[in-house]
C-alpha cells in the first residue's frame, strides 16, 4: 500500500529566492548601515549638490547613486532609511497581525455576540479613509516612531480581522472541528489546536503583505512630513524631497522609489511563497 504521494517535495521557487534574497539584503543593509554606507547620510555639502549617479558624466567618486540638492549621499540615505522601514514593517506588521488575527479568529469561530460586536467595529472602521485617519491620528499623537506604529495598527487590523474571520468560519464548519468536540476538546482548545493551524498559512501571507503595507504607510506619512523628525533619512521623505527637483535630479526620486517598490513587492511575494510551503497538501 505504498505510493509516491507522500514523497513529492516541491523545490523552493524562484519567487521565494528572489523576494527572500532582497529582504535579506535589506536587513543586512539596515544592520550594517554605519559600516557600509560610503558617507554620512546627514552630511550636507552645497558644493556637491545634485551630483548624478556613477555612470553619468559629472559624477563625483564615492557618491554612487548621486546626491540630493543639499549634497547628501542618496545611497547612504537609502541604507539608513532601510532601518526605519524595516523596524516599522516588523513591529507594526506583527502587532497589526496579532490584534487583527485574534479578533478575526474569535469572531469567526465563536460567532454569536462576539462576532456581532467585532464585525460592527470592522464595518465602522472601514468607513474611514485610511490615510486621512492616519494623518489625524499622528496629528493627535504627535510625530514619532511609536505614533507611526500605533497608527498602522489602528488602521489596518481590520484587514486581518475580516479575512481571518471568513477563514475561521469556513474551517469551523468542517467536521474535524465537530470531531474535536466529540473527543471532548474545549471550545478554546479547539480554536487553538484545530482552527489556528489551518488558518496559519493565510495569517502568514497577510502578515508579509501587511509588512509591505506598513512600509508604504510610513513612506506616505514621511511624504506628508508626518513621520519621524526630518533629520533621520526615510524613503518617503526622500521621495517627497526628490519630487521637487525631479527635472534636475531624477535620481533623488527614482532610487528610493525603486527600493520601496522592490521591498513591498518582495514582502507580498514572500507571503505567497511561504503560504504554499506551509500547506501540507501543496507541499
Amino acid at each position: 500500500m505504498r505510493d509516491a504521494r507522500g514523497e513529492v517535495k516541491r523545490p523552493i521557487g524562484l519567487r521565494l529566492w528572489l523576494s527572500g534574497g532582497w529582504l535579506a539584503l535589506l536587513v543586512l543593509a539596515a544592520l550594517c548601515a554605519p559600516l557600509i554606507a560610503p558617507n554620512d547620510p546627514l552630511m550636507q555639502d552645497l558644493f556637491l549638490g545634485r551630483m548624478p549617479p556613477f555612470w553619468m558624466d559629472g559624477a563625483e567618486p564615492g557618491f554612487w547613486l548621486g546626491t540630493d540638492s543639499l549634497g547628501r549621499d542618496v545611497l547612504s540615505r537609502i541604507l539608513y532609511g532601510a532601518r526605519l522601514a524595516l523596524i516599522v514593517a516588523l513591529v507594526a506588521g506583527t502587532l497589526t497581525c496579532l490584534v487583527g488575527a485574534t479578533l478575526g479568529l474569535i469572531a469567526g469561530y465563536y460567532r454569536g455576540w462576539p462576532d456581532r460586536i467585532i464585525s460592527r467595529f470592522v464595518d465602522i472602521w472601514m468607513a474611514f479613509p485610511p490615510v486621512l485617519f492616519a494623518i489625524l491620528l499622528i496629528a493627535v499623537l504627535g510625530p514619532g516612531l511609536m505614533s507611526i506604529i500605533i497608527a498602522i495598527v489602528v488602521i489596518d487590523w481590520t484587514r486581518f480581522a475580516r479575512v481571518i474571520r471568513a477563514e475561521a468560519m469556513t474551517q469551523g464548519a468542517m467536521d474535524y472541528v465537530a470531531s474535536a468536540q466529540v473527543a471532548g476538546r474545549t471550545r478554546f482548545g479547539t480554536m487553538l489546536t484545530e482552527i489556528l493551524p489551518n488558518v496559519l498559512p493565510t495569517i502568514v501571507a497577510l502578515l508579509t503583505l501587511e509588512m509591505g503595507v506598513a512600509v508604504i504607510v510610513e513612506a506616505i506619512l514621511s511624504f506628508v512630513n508626518l513621520s519621524i523628525s526630518t533629520d533621520s533619512p526615510t524613503w518617503g521623505g526622500m521621495i517627497a524631497e526628490g519630487r521637487t527637483s525631479v527635472h534636475q535630479a531624477w535620481w533623488v526620486l527614482v532610487f528610493p522609489l525603486i527600493t520601496l517598490f522592490l521591498t513591498v513587492l518582495s514582502f507580498s511575494q514572500l507571503g505567497e511563497g511561504l503560504k504554499d510551503r506551509f500547506d501540507p497538501v501543496l507541499r
Binding site: 500500500m1 504521494r5 507522500g6 468542517m174 467536521d175 474535524y176 465537530a178 470531531s179 474535536a180 468536540q181 466529540v182 473527543a183 471532548g184 476538546r185 474545549t186 471550545r187 484545530e194 493551524p197 489551518n198 501540507p280 497538501v281
Partner: protein, 264 residues
C-alpha cells in the same frame, strides 16, 4: 438501554425568514421523536434528505442541544448536560463522519489524529493504542506518519473509524459514512464496521439514505420523515411487511436485480 430518546424536539432559528426587527421564526427539524437503542443493537436510521437524521445523530452525541424532550445515555440524562460534565462521558459515545476529508484535520498526521482524543481523555501508552487501532481497521502502522491527503477515500474513512474505536466507546454513531466512497470501498468499509461491532460488542447507530446498506448491516431500523418517526422495527420484518406508506415508498425506490420481483 444504551439510549432512551423521549419526545425529542430540536429547532433552529430560521434566518432566511427573519423579519427586519424581532426574532427569527423557529424551524422545527425534530418534531418529537421517541425510540430506544438497546445495548448491542445495530440500529439503522433511514430517511430522505432533510428528514432530520443527521440532526438527530448530532443531538444524540450532544453536538447540538435539544430544545425539548429527553435523551438518556445508559441511564444518565444528557439532554441539557453542560460541556464540562459531558467531557467525562464523551469517550463512551463516538462518531464517524460522512466526509472523511473534512473530518480529518489536514494539518495533522494520521497518528496525531487518532491520538488526539486519547490524549484528551487522559489515556497513556498512546503509540501502542494508535498502532492497535490501525491494526484493527486494517491499515499499515506506517500510516501514522502520513497526512490525510496522502490516503485514498477508503483509507481515510478507515482512519475515521480507527479514531472512534481507539477510545473503546460503548456506542458509535456512523453518519452516512460510505456515501462518499466507491462501491468496492463501500463494501470493504461496511464489512470492517460489521466485524468491529461484533468483536468489540459495540452498539451502533448507522445513518444512511441507502436501504440496501441498512438491510445488510442493521438488525433494527428507524424510518424518519420530516422530523418524525414513521416506522420502527426489526430489519427483516420491516423489509418484509412495511407498515407506513412512506416506508413502502422508500423500499420501492431500491433498484432490484429482477424487474419482475417485488419486496415482501
Amino acid at each position: 438501554m444504551m439510549y432512551e430518546v423521549r419526545d425529542l424536539r430540536l429547532s433552529f432559528p430560521d434566518m432566511a425568514h427573519k423579519p427586519l426587527i424581532g426574532a427569527a421564526p423557529r424551524l422545527e427539524v425534530l418534531k418529537g421523536l421517541s425510540f430506544d437503542v438497546p445495548k448491542g443493537a445495530v440500529l439503522g436510521i433511514v430517511g430522505g434528505s432533510g428528514s432530520g437524521k443527521s440532526t438527530l445523530g448530532r443531538a444524540m452525541l450532544r453536538l447540538l442541544e435539544p430544545t425539548g424532550g429527553t435523551i438518556s445515555f445508559d441511564g444518565t440524562d444528557i439532554t441539557h448536560m453542560g460541556e464540562d460534565q459531558l467531557r467525562g462521558m464523551r469517550k463512551r459515545f463516538q462518531m464517524i463522519f460522512q466526509d472523511p476529508m473534512s473530518s480529518l484535520n489536514p494539518r495533522r498526521r494520521v497518528g496525531g489524529i487518532i491520538a488526539g482524543p486519547l490524549r484528551l481523555q487522559g489515556l497513556d501508552g498512546l503509540t501502542g493504542r494508535v498502532d492497535e487501532a490501525l491494526d484493527m481497521v486494517g491499515l499499515p502502522r506506517g500510516f501514522a506518519q502520513r497526512y490525510p491527503h496522502e490516503l485514498s477515500g477508503g483509507q481515510r474513512q478507515r482512519v475515521g473509524i480507527a479514531r472512534a474505536i481507539a477510545l473503546r466507546p460503548d456506542f458509535i454513531l456512523a453518519d452516512e459514512i460510505v456515501s462518499g466512497l466507491d462501491v468496492s470501498s463501500q463494501a470493504q468499509v461496511l464489512n470492517l464496521l460489521g466485524e468491529l461491532v461484533r468483536d468489540l460488542g459495540l452498539t451502533l447507530a448507522f445513518i444512511s439514505h441507502d436501504l440496501s446498506v441498512i438491510r445488510r448491516l442493521c438488525d433494527r431500523v428507524l424510518v424518519l420523515h420530516h422530523g418524525e418517526v414513521v416506522e420502527e422495527g426489526a430489519t427483516a420484518a420491516l423489509f418484509d411487511a412495511p407498515q407506513a406508506a412512506y416506508t413502502r415508498e422508500l423500499l420501492g425506490a431500491i433498484p432490484l436485480p429482477d424487474p419482475h420481483q417485488t419486496w415482501g
